[in-house]
């Protein structure tokens, strides 16, 4: 098993440990292997979405059916969600678990993610969106801690994974 696949497997096992059974995703290259692993695993219903707001709607509604869920996306996708998160999850105090990527950080070779490097985490701070950065594989269990935290505080929580972790290099 490649390092990338092993990391994806460990992420998926964290989701299973949370009793998550519904996963909505819109891909970022960095989490493509994670998404494929969810898609192949019969413990999950994987729903590809047309835009990240759709994942917020779907996962927020799933909460009311007692279904554990997670939205998987890139940093750019999360940057589009300020309206959705504040209007649904903040106004109604609905938990939501998001797995995202730390695009634009040192090591990201994509020039078009420079803006994420400048403003991504600061934007989350600006709306008081709770997050943790998973920058080494031994922090992958933080995913379940963030999921539980989102339920306890009735707000969204985000686990943000770095390039090196997702490549199995950290």
């Amino acid at each position: 098993m490649s390092n990338r696949k092993e990391i994806a497997r460990r992420v998926v096992e964290q989701a299973a440990a949370c009793d998550i059974s519904l996963v909505a995703s819109l891909p970022d290259n960095w989490v493509a292997e994670v998404i494929r692993t969810f898609d192949r695993d019969d413990r999950f219903r994987h729903v590809p979405v047309n835009r990240e707001e759709s994942a917020v709607g779907l996962c927020s509604g799933a909460f009311f059916s007692g279904t554990g869920s997670m939205a998987v996306m890139g940093a750019s996708g999360l940057m589009t969600l300020i309206y959705a998160i504040t209007k649904i999850n903040y106004t109604y105090e609905v938990p939501l678990m998001i797995l995202a990527t730390l695009r634009g950080a040192p090591g990201d070779t994509a020039k078009f993610h420079v803006s994420n490097g400048l403003y991504f985490l600061q934007s989350l701070d600006a709306i008081k969106l709770t997050y943790t950065v998973i920058d080494s594989a031994d922090k992958i269990p933080e995913i379940k801690r963030m999921y539980d935290h989102s339920r306890i505080v009735s707000r969204p929580a985000v686990a943000i994974m770095t390039r090196d972790v997702l490549r199995g290099e950290a």
């Binding site: 519904l22 219903r45 729903v47 590809p48 979405v49 047309n50 835009r51 707001e53 759709s54 917020v56 709607g57 779907l58 996962c59 927020s60 509604g61 799933a62 909460f63 009311f64 059916s65 007692g66 279904t67 869920s69 309206y83 959705a84 209007k87 649904i88 106004t91 109604y92 105090e93 609905v94 539980d148 339920r151 306890i152």
Partner: protein, 205 residues
């Protein structure tokens, strides 16, 4: 032809049985509250541009024994019409997507939608593979077609377009649902817990 906004909502409220309802940005929250005063079986998802039907899909997905109606104004719909691709993939037989088409942004002073005279919402839905689509532009047609459109969806997700007039000036003055977000959350969630035996709220004191 178009149906007076209030008349359509009154007809649906009269025919509703145990369906859970999710309302939308625009005017559907206001009008549904006015004609039902329902504070338990309805989630008033106000200011939720384009997300009400996928929110309802999440409810319907995990509660296959429930029937779920989701209102969406066409002002919200046009912001994210490809939601129907996701809904088609899910194809939930217990979900009715009710598109309230009055061709204006009803929640923001009834200003016109782009492409107002010609957009064909059913054609848009069919282009994405939905085949259980209805369009009603008279009250009698809605009454006659109600069972097929709203109750006959055991084969899959239904998409129902209601061609309505904008709300009247008098209707714009009716009360908003008099609840804050957390009250709506708990009333709706507790209702689901009591009826369906599902544990919605966890990690509490």
């Amino acid at each position: 032809m178009t149906i007076p906004y209030r008349d359509a909502f009154q007809l649906l409220a009269g025919k509703r049985e145990e369906e859970l309802v999710v309302t939308s940005a625009g005017n559907s929250s206001q009008m549904w509250w006015d004609v039902t005063k329902d504070a338990d079986k309805t989630f008033y998802l106000d200011a939720s541009m384009s997300m009400s039907t996928l929110f309802a899909s999440g409810v319907a997905y995990g509660l296959p024994q429930a029937k779920v109606w989701a209102f969406m104004g066409d002002g919200a719909f046009v912001m994210n019409p490809a939601m129907l691709m996701v809904e088609r993939d899910l194809d939930l037989p217990n979900l009715v997507h009710i598109l309230v088409s009055n061709r204006v942004y009803g929640g923001t002073s009834d200003l016109d939608l782009p492409n107002k005279p010609v957009t064909d919402y059913v054609a848009m839905a069919k282009s994405m593979g939905l085949d259980r689509c209805w369009n009603f532009d008279t009250l009698s047609a809605l009454d006659d077609g109600f069972d097929a459109a709203f109750r006959g969806n055991d084969k899959g997700h239904s998409f129902v377009v209601l061609e309505l007039e904008p709300m009247t000036a008098e209707d714009h003055r009716i009360e908003e649902p008099p609840m804050d977000g957390p009250e709506i959350k708990f009333r709706f969630g507790r209702y689901i817990e009591s009826i369906y035996g599902t544990k919605v709220f966890s990690h509490q004191f």
